[in-house]
Symmetry: C2
Subunit: 421 residues, 2 copies
Amino acid sequence: MNLTTAAMEAAYQENLAAFEAWKAKNLRLNMARGKPSAAQLDSISDILTILNDPKDCIVDGVDARNYGELSGLPCAKEYWADVLGCKKEEVFVGGTASLTLMYDLISKAYSHGLRNSRQPWCREEKVKFLCPSPGYDRHFRITESFGAELITIPMTENGPDMDMVEKLVADPAVKGIWCVPKYSNPQGIIYSDETVRRMANLKPAAPDFTIMWDNAYCVHEFEGDFVPFADIITLCREAGNPDMVYEFASTSKITFPGAGISVMASSVDNIKYISKLLGVQMISYDKVNQLRHVKYLQNKEHTLEIMKRHAQIMAPKFKVVLDTLDREIAPLEFAKWNRPKGGYFVSLDTMPGTAKRALALCKEAGVVMTDAGATYPYGVDPQDSNIRIAPSLPPIAELEQAMEVFCICLKLAAFEKLLNK
Amino acid sequence: MNLTTAAMEAAYQENLAAFEAWKAKNLRLNMARGKPSAAQLDSISDILTILNDPKDCIVDGVDARNYGELSGLPCAKEYWADVLGCKKEEVFVGGTASLTLMYDLISKAYSHGLRNSRQPWCREEKVKFLCPSPGYDRHFRITESFGAELITIPMTENGPDMDMVEKLVADPAVKGIWCVPKYSNPQGIIYSDETVRRMANLKPAAPDFTIMWDNAYCVHEFEGDFVPFADIITLCREAGNPDMVYEFASTSKITFPGAGISVMASSVDNIKYISKLLGVQMISYDKVNQLRHVKYLQNKEHTLEIMKRHAQIMAPKFKVVLDTLDREIAPLEFAKWNRPKGGYFVSLDTMPGTAKRALALCKEAGVVMTDAGATYPYGVDPQDSNIRIAPSLPPIAELEQAMEVFCICLKLAAFEKLLNK
């Protein structure tokens, strides 16, 4: 930004006036979370009636309406094995949220220990967890909730900084790492083949080191064709680390966020071990809903067709975000952002020390964003720079307004800092 | 039983021949668990299509299909408040299983502590839990899984032995009690008003002593009219123990066991506290299914009408059980059993030392029953006497066969013992 102080002052005043004008409109816009829009939900709402005959509830000799089948309906396991490229014996089908499966895994590690644990984590003097950042706040909060020390791992354009990860896993207190390998939250980065290979070949000191492989956006392209991904379970097995990874996914952003199905996949031994613990907690997840989803989504191929329909709704929203940033912010050069082809977010790094202020201004003008800092462990971004933009929920017209306001607030916060206001 | 040895020997031989004849038929009958029958599930399967218009998914300004509303849809809270007689602010609506809510509560007590805990239970030197027995094996297993010492409390015809409970809660290591207050599993006992009052007025030494009030059969009469029950949450509050109880229920035996909705109710403070912990584990349970259930079940009154339909299926099954026992076993006087008017089980106490043997014989003849001992802590019935009969699943014709076989096996085991075979 090569502006004179006077030019900056003029730009500041101009944006301040624009800000006040927006404020007067009493907007109530929300770009806080990766929530699908009503249009997107409507586009798949025929799933509500796909299972309507009680006779259809009986498959493979199992009545989906009744008790039983802890690890899920066989057809639901086949569906997920197809999507994830793993074996159906490696699959445990969950309820509406993969987040719950992740939480329950960490919770059981804490209270009972995992398959290769020497003792439950609550008996360890210290548990540390690696958190590639910016990352997903709900991941970090799970391990924080169980008292783990969260260690920030910088993200590169190829995924987490693997030099640092390889070094840190030599500490036996380091028990795991959070990963979103495809269209990472929030940066939309796809881990490179090299990153995935190095991850599978880690040699951690902790025998129960666990890669939490949250493949949340595995089929979530909104631009271009489906990008294939490696089966991390096979890679870990081949690297001599068969029990080191648990993979997660869900239909939250394929069908209904509040009422989909989820999956946890890992080695057959891990699934056996964890099923024994989960068998105390439940008799099974909702098999009627599993059946509904299998009938509706059918297989990976058909799921990708449905995702193409979602893409038609999502792509224009990301275009609004990027176009507005390109027009309003790019010339000033004080922020940079990614240009993802899938996932749910645009991650933006603004002038250090101004992210909180910018979002406070947004809030004042009626635009709610994900809290600044949320993408870092403990909700604290040491640079106060990263902002997660979630454009999926608002209709285009609202999104355009919200992005206008957002850019004004970004600029105001930057000018305030530069001008020592 | 006033038989001569010779008469017993003759009776033994007669039953042995009958047993061999049944065995030759290669039956495969199951009275192991309280699973509703296919007929019962069919009778409510119109719930599958009750929610078919996407527009109906939006209630009270909330889109049930999307993320949000951790503690459940307002209308689902109102439904459960109506059924349980508590306030809707005291309600947290869960997923398919109340068992999971119970597990999660104990799990969080263990890892984080409850609202009034001095420390998480995993930091306590010893945790003890009271288990009225015979009782529900899955309850006992939850607390056993977290390392608690299980203490057997004898059941009386009015509920748990309250003299013993009142004495034991003076021990600060005693952290709670499992209760099924209406149609207890397996005896079908309804706790007397006096028992409920004494329970609410306990003065436990542990500040976080918790009554796990599993009202699983709250509307599950199969004979006679609905039996009202007191609101335990109000009773505890009035007794100065507002945070001492968590009540649970579900639609598992109202709609679908694998795909219903569940509830946890407690003081507003407790619900606030536990919601904060549950908010790390999930974004919400399945609100589409909550809505489906509210539309279908409507309110307590309509739910009771549906339960009358279930009763028409259930009552004849209990009649088969009791008629067969009255005919085959009563004259011999070596066993006694209850005659419940609701719930899912008949509890039978046979000649001490013969329950395991009787059920092993049943298994040999192709009739699977709940394991002997399952109704006691650690799966060990000190008397080897109690057997839980679950007649809900098999059709009448199969049930008649299964009960014939069961009575023969009971007699064989008793004669074996009396004749020192």
